[in-house]
Point group: C2
Chain length 224, copies 2
DNA sequence: ACAAAAGTGTTATCCATACACCCATGT
DNA sequence: ACATGGGTGTATGGATAACACTTTTGT
């Protein structure tokens, strides 16, 4: 045990959310541009101080909803970041979450609080406030690990998608090319998705069959 | 972002540590018996409030050192537990760590603060205070997952150990029997350990060769 | 007709698994 | 001499990886 100055502890708790999606063939994170000093103009993950009667998961859910309007996505605690100097304004411990979003149906909201809100490619981030660069890095690592033994990619795709779209998600996150036939055989054997019967037409090539995930919630399956 | 009542936030931060070892053929966790109400007599993980100028990892390191005297072990953040009602005394968010200890060279310290300190088999825990049962469960899951793709078992074994001891660690944590020859072939191919040249004698059977880990720090390797 | 992505099976290689006996020591 | 765990190699089967052509559409 550390000490017992319970009444004198003066540490604040924040919740930050790394929202991640795939756009233009690459992973992107949602960043807000800060208005207030000392980080004026810098970019950061959306977040804020925790309320007393609110669990961190609820706070993260609210941040997500406020920024993007979505609720039905994969959202999970990432880790807690607590370097003593991470916030120049004082000791603030941050419980970080990460969420996976489909690039569809997103409606970014700019609020009074921020100068700007936008998606940034994860490999070309601007300078970030606090330790948010590290938070994003750890989120990426977690995602890359976790798509290999769970079904969480459901949260990165629209409700209906083609097998090629699904394969691209894996290729982009794992940063390697996959064999089309082996990938499809694998996905088929896992029985995580089912055909909708529809096809995606309007492209200058053969229409692709559309599929959907049977369950849009976390399941453990050895994908690769 | 949640709200901006920064000055009014009244949430405390604690650090708790699940220290785990293998004794008598099973996983055990170190628990302390509480003296103070409202959990008087109940068992709990060692922990305490975080100090303002201290990172949580340092706090966890100190808890570990205080309880067991050891420092050179694997210690990692597990997760943050923050149910609003987890502590009847008020809102306390707990950053939980877990540590892996060898059953050797342990010197449990009972302090004034606790009625008792002892190892409890993980499958037969007493009633625990707070949400510590959940913390232990998550630690076990993490350990079982992580020994399969890292070298962290180094921290559960003495500096020098036999291949059979190493195999037992995996068998106990994964709860399944492994084939001796396949296991040894695998371990040998991974090149994580090296023979010390010594043997362990004094037993009513052929002496076993003693090995040690080449590196006593986290490395990522697909073990199984 | 051409371009572009969709869709589809087979073969070879590698890796995981199953399996049994002799060895060195203490009693 | 007997009991006990230590130590060792091979053969098989299943999973993974490599690989090319036909189909359907839009222009």
């Amino acid at each position: 045990m550390v000490k017992h100055h319970a009444s004198t502890q003066n540490i604040k708790i924040a919740v930050d959310a790394a929202m991640v999606t795939i756009r233009e063939g690459d992973l992107h994170a949602l960043l807000i541009q800060m208005k207030k000093s000392p980080f004026e103009g810098l970019w950061a993950l959306p977040g804020g101080l925790l309320e007393e009667d609110e669990p961190t998961l609820k706070a993260a859910t609210r941040i997500l909803k406020t920024q993007t309007g979505v609720t039905d996505v994969f959202l999970e605690q990432l880790a807690t970041f607590d370097d003593v100097d991470r916030d120049p304004a004082g000791r603030v411990v941050s419980v970080a979450y990460y969420a996976l979003l489909s690039d569809q149906n997103l409606d970014l909201k700019t609020t009074e609080k921020y100068s700007d809100v936008r998606w940034w490619p994860i490999r070309k981030l601007p300078t970030l406030a606090y330790d948010h660069k590290q938070v994003v890095q750890e989120a990426i690592q977690r995602i890359a690990a976790k798509i290999q033994y769970t079904n969480i990619v459901w949260s990165l795709l629209p409700k209906e998608f083609t097998l090629t779209q699904l394969q691209h998600v894996y290729e982009i996150i794992l940063r390697k090319n996959l064999d089309k036939r082996n990938f499809r055989k694998r996905i088929h054997d896992l029985k995580l998705i089912k055909p909708t019967g529809k096809t995606r037409t309007g492209m200058a090539h053969r229409p692709a069959a559309l599929y959907q995930f049977k369950h849009r919630k976390l399941e453990y399956v050895q994908v690769m």
